[in-house]
Symmetry: C2
Subunit: 332 residues, 2 copies
Amino acid sequence: MPATIVDIKEKTGLSLATISKYLNGGNVLPENRVKIEAAIKELHYEVNELARGLVTNRTRTVGLLVYSIESPFSGMLLHHVGEALRRNGYGMLIVDSCDDEEVERKNVRYLINKKVDGIIALPVASKGDFLSPANNAHVPVVLMDRSLSDAQYDCVRIDNRKSTYYAMKELISRNHKKIAVIASEREYTGRERFNGFMDSMRDAGLDVPADYQVRGTHSIATGYNGMKKLLSLKDRPTGVFMSNYEITLGGMLAMNESGFRSPDDISLLGFDDQLFFHVLQPQVYMVEQPMKAMGEKAVELLLKRIKGTTDEAPMEIAMSTRLQTGNSIKTL
Amino acid sequence: MPATIVDIKEKTGLSLATISKYLNGGNVLPENRVKIEAAIKELHYEVNELARGLVTNRTRTVGLLVYSIESPFSGMLLHHVGEALRRNGYGMLIVDSCDDEEVERKNVRYLINKKVDGIIALPVASKGDFLSPANNAHVPVVLMDRSLSDAQYDCVRIDNRKSTYYAMKELISRNHKKIAVIASEREYTGRERFNGFMDSMRDAGLDVPADYQVRGTHSIATGYNGMKKLLSLKDRPTGVFMSNYEITLGGMLAMNESGFRSPDDISLLGFDDQLFFHVLQPQVYMVEQPMKAMGEKAVELLLKRIKGTTDEAPMEIAMSTRLQTGNSIKTL
DNA sequence: CTGTTAGCGCTTTCAG
DNA sequence: CTGAAAGCGCTAACAG
């Protein structure tokens, strides 16, 4: 059995209150402080956060609900979120939804039952009802990367539609007319980026035939199959926009296998810059998200809600992106 | 305030014991079951795992101590570990050590204070003293990927030395004589792979001059700088072994920048296959680890320790790897 | 600054 | 099968 505060009490002859006070950074007579510290060391005492949390009703732990921990994109975000939380004295409880809405539902309950002080969510689902246990328990939620169509939470993300719109200018201004898109239609970001794509084409007066619009899930498979399909069209596009990391990866895979080369045969524009892509030849033009800033902002917003230092209405913060240039786009 | 078991008691007129029994899957009269379920739904009752853990002394939560959550390698491992735990009714509390031993120390205490039932560790440090809080608290630990030089824990990993040795045959049998290595020397895996490399060279009667031995940290920078250095040597190696994912990535980056091509100018052998590498031209020969099997095995071992269904001495399980073939090696 | 006491929400004897 | 009561380890009044 691990040592408890009672063991310290017996060892030092002090009262529980004094020891508790010491543990929480209160003022204690120097001689008592010494006694307590000696006892702690000797008994290998460690605070029981379960007991502490039970009485204080705070755990100083934030739940991170992430759609897939396998995704390098979420790994980066988690890293920055974790650092920001740590600086503020908070830990994070990460749960992996494995891209599965059912798992996600369970994970929310799990976090609530664990009494996290708040939740940062990168959701799988597009509708917010899975978060109702958090609402019932009055646990604040901040969304990241993906917004929800029917719910009001703080949300930190990029401006997907606009970012895509501007990035598309790179293709359009270089005289590409036949441009295809491979996008996820399951989550918010995919749909927004698709919309941004369509906006840019419409404003450029360009048509997008149905078989240039490949829609699927947020997955390597979607990118791979989509690109295969596009390359096999009689009337091949001269440019392709790929709407996220996994799809870009899958698209590149298919390109490599097919023997087509970029930018000679086809020009490419991707999303979610990761160092990995810098290894590729050609270097793909990439829309790059401000990961660190997003992580820090999400933490800032959540901590404000937790501490109740704000009663503002939930806000959507749309950060802007940077276009990482490459050599995957040919001027026609 | 969230509803408690006492609210359920008042709503149903039943006693705490009965409700608790229901919550834990015990037998309750059908009519009482109905009453309880109705009350739970109405009050949005959720179990307080803090209180439960305090009395049962079990949290059904396993701590995951990971050297860097940013690393795609750890992301994959976490995914498989998480699935295996979930199948067994356990959750996971992931903490990111950010490749920093001090953070790692704190993280161990954090996990202990949170009363995890066990820990799966992908450590930063090479020595095991940072785990002493776990020992003091009698919390079982299983290591993954990286072993510790001075401690006795179950460990699930690949046979780094042997895997490297065998993979190196691909270069050696194709008549490469001048082979360089870029390896991490900070952690266990890097050192073992370095040793395997040296073994293979020695057994082949090949010399490895000092400037062919690049050692550094487990990082992209090490791979990048290492490759740059190797490519600038007057007497360039014909083959290079890169000892992990990050180093391989960095090495490829430097290759691309330099204008040298593989396999024409230099043959490459890497470590830690990830889908990403399949996008590259050339496809690099890669040592591939059995991620899923490792994750499952680690969970199996840990749960045995937690449940006390074994009193065997700690064991090291070294799994074998597969060489993913590519076209990055030229026959001389 | 220190001590006493009540109680956080739950499980678990032990009776009935 | 159900109920009453004790107690897990800690904090938070409050009194001294």
